[in-house]
């Protein structure tokens, strides 16, 4: 009896734990307030900070965070930044705050955050932590009355591809990866301790008048929409440049292949002539000839990122337009009354 028990225990210890996929990110209200405050204070500059919390099953709990100072591009300050981080973590540990890094947050301007730096930071974090998440907060959208908080994670298939640094069309077709698969958005759940919710309910202004959030009912969305459109236009320009690069590549490729075929024909003809003359045939390949040098295929990573950004802008425009419709109809109804 004991033997079978021991074996089953060994079996259990030997089997690897399969990491359950991350399904939801649970953030504390404290963290949200801190992020809002930090991003708002420094807007329009972009700021970042570290997230601390616990990784529990399929839920990633974020319980605290601290902001990073704005770093200048200087070698000395690099070490300073690391020191700051260690110091903060140590201090927070002393007051019993969970000091597991579970990711980082950053602020963005109108949703233009899909850059290569983001991916690189993700890869850096992923090496040390099994599960990390990036929270993006948009302070300009929050002025419109929406809490623009998103939790992002790189999809696993994309990460493998990035590690191999291989973005050719074939590989992508193999994995069936398109631009939507780069980032995965994870739903956010907000939790608060009972003490805090008791306080907040008490302290809430009793008069309903101050409760109504008027900024959501504002009619003027023009500046916001204008900026969104400007960014969209710029991105479209970038996208068309990337596409031109591809066209160039394809044209070069087909021209090179034409050259290769012509050369091959000539070789074959030569070989026929040599055979009739009784000499050894020449090899049909010639790696030294420059027309056989393979042309590198341009990476599709940039175009994917730009595509992501464009779709983000489109989504935002849709959202704001929808809101504006409701507001306009509301105004119409009020006026008629």
């Amino acid at each position: 009896m004991a033997n079978t028990m021991a074996r089953s225990f060994l079996q259990v210890a030997a089997t690897e734990e399969v990491a359950s996929p991350l399904r939801v990110v649970q953030i504390e209200g404290l963290v949200i307030l801190k992020i809002i405050k930090h991003c708002k204070e420094f807007s329009p500059a972009l700021v970042t900070g570290q997230l601390l919390g616990l990784d529990v099953g399929s839920v990633l709990e974020v319980t605290n965070c601290f902001p990073f100072p704005i770093r200048e591009e200087d070698e000395e300050i690099e070490a300073d930044g690391a020191n700051y981080q260690l110091e903060m973590m140590r201090c927070l540990r002393e007051v019993n705050v969970d000091n597991n890094t579970v990711g980082w947050y950053q602020s963005t301007l109108l949703g233009s955050f899909q850059t290569v730096e983001l991916i690189e930071t993700f890869m850096n974090y992923q090496e040390n932590i099994r599960r990390c998440v990036c929270i993006i907060y948009d302070p300009s959208r929050s002025n419109q009355g929406v809490l623009a908080l998103k939790a992002l994670k790189l999809s696993d298939s994309f990460m493998e591809l990035y590690r191999n640094n291989n973005f050719t069309g074939e590989k992508l077709r193999e994995k069936n990866l398109s631009w939507v698969d780069i980032f995965e958005e994870i739903p956010i759940k907000v939790s608060n301790s009972a003490l805090i919710s008791a306080f907040m309910t008490e302290l809430e202004a009793d008069t309903p008048v101050t409760q109504c959030d008027y900024d959501r009912l504002q009619l003027s969305t023009n500046p916001y929409m204008e900026r969104n459109l400007e960014f969209l236009i710029e991105c479209m320009d970038d996208l068309s440049m990337e596409q031109q690069k591809f066209q160039f590549y394809y044209r070069n490729l087909s021209r090179q292949q034409g050259q290769q075929q012509a050369w091959l024909q000539k070789r074959r003809a030569e070989n026929m002539a040599r055979k009739t003359a009784g000499e050894d045939p020449l090899p049909e390949e010639d790696p030294a000839n420059p027309i056989f040098k393979p042309i590198p295929e341009p990476s599709r990573l940039d175009s994917f990122l730009i595509t992501n950004q464009i779709s983000n802008y489109c989504n935002q425009i849709n959202g704001v337009a929808g809101q504006s419709f409701s507001r306009l109809y509301l105004m119409k109804a009020l006026h008629e009354n």
């Binding site: 404290l30 708002k40 019993n96 596409q243 849709n318």
Partner: protein, 285 residues
């Protein structure tokens, strides 16, 4: 200084024009630190950061907890930790300076006077914030004090803690998320349209209230209050007078602009999917 167990609470209005404004983040921080305090500690003590405006209002914006040891006759505060955290915080936001300190629990004890003295060495007139986390009075009590020293001639007798008015401020973006912050668990963040709906419902409720009030005044059920009546009249009069056709034209123009934008974004998306197909589906023989 001998410590007494009784709380030294003064309810006189303050003679100085000092008042304090607290951001809800500070309350959150304090509650979080209280929940995480080590088991043997009765209360949590920490530093308040913020700024002092020229007219004497203190704006409390941030806070952090400082580990301390408290026994019946002495209090020990970890000063190094306090300085380290201060330096770290100032690296991020150099404008935030120490404005005082906080402690949980109702009232001011003898030990607090010592700590207050320590903080008064750091800043001119520190604010002492007490947050009652045990809800002893049956409601949330957050009080702010400044210390005035009572002296008899040359000798200093005692420090009197005077209460100053406190104001709980909330910035716009935080107010948007306030509903989320009230409950213990929110399943998902509300999307744009849901938030819109909530705002409109609130507005509708407000208008309903006003209607009911006016109706009841007209029927004579409620004593009319001239101020409110004037206020309502002002509000209604502030709607700009535009003739119906002009108004319709305004609304329609806006509608058309937005429809145009929606159309543009749909075209862009189609373009994107087309470009993607061309890029990755192209076969190279």
């Amino acid at each position: 200084m001998a410590s007494s167990e009784s709380a030294v609470l003064q309810f006189f209005p303050s003679s100085t024009s000092l008042s304090a404004k607290v951001h809800p983040l500070v309350i959150f921080n304090i509650c979080d630190c209280y929940v995480r305090r080590p088991d043997q500690a009765e209360r949590v003590i920490g530093t308040l950061l913020g700024s002092i405006s020229p007219d004497g209002t203190v704006d409390i914006r941030n806070s952090y907890a400082v580990p301390h040891n408290e026994s019946s006759d002495q209090v020990a505060l970890d000063i190094d930790y306090h300085h380290n955290m201060l330096l770290s915080h100032q690296k991020v936001n150099p404008k935030e300076v120490i404005v005082g300190w906080y402690s949980t629990g109702l009232g001011v004890t003898g030990g607090s006077a010592l700590i207050h003295e320590f903080y008064s060495r750091e800043v001119q007139n520190p604010i002492h914030l007490t947050v009652d986390t045990t809800f002893r009075n049956g409601e949330a009590t957050i009080k702010a004090f400044v210390s005035v020293s009572l002296s008899l001639g040359e000798r200093q007798l005692a420090a009197q803690f005077q209460e100053i008015p406190l104001d709980l401020r909330m910035v716009e973006a935080e107010r948007v998320g306030f509903d989320i912050l009230k409950t213990t668990m929110v399943e998902k963040l509300p999307s744009d349209l849901e938030g819109m709906e909530a705002s409109m419902e609130r507005l509708l409720a407000l208008i309903d209230d006003v209607y009911k009030y006016v109706d009841s005044v007209v029927e004579g059920q409620v004593v009319p209050d001239n101020d409110i009546g004037r206020f309502i009249a002002d509000t209604v009069a502030s709607i700009p007078k535009i003739s119906p056709p002009a108004f319709d034209r305004l609304v329609n123009d806006s509608l058309q602009d937005h429809l145009l934008l929606l159309y543009l974004s749909s075209i862009t998306r189609t373009q994107l999917s087309l470009a993607e197909k061309l890029n990755t589906a192209a076969q190279i023989p």
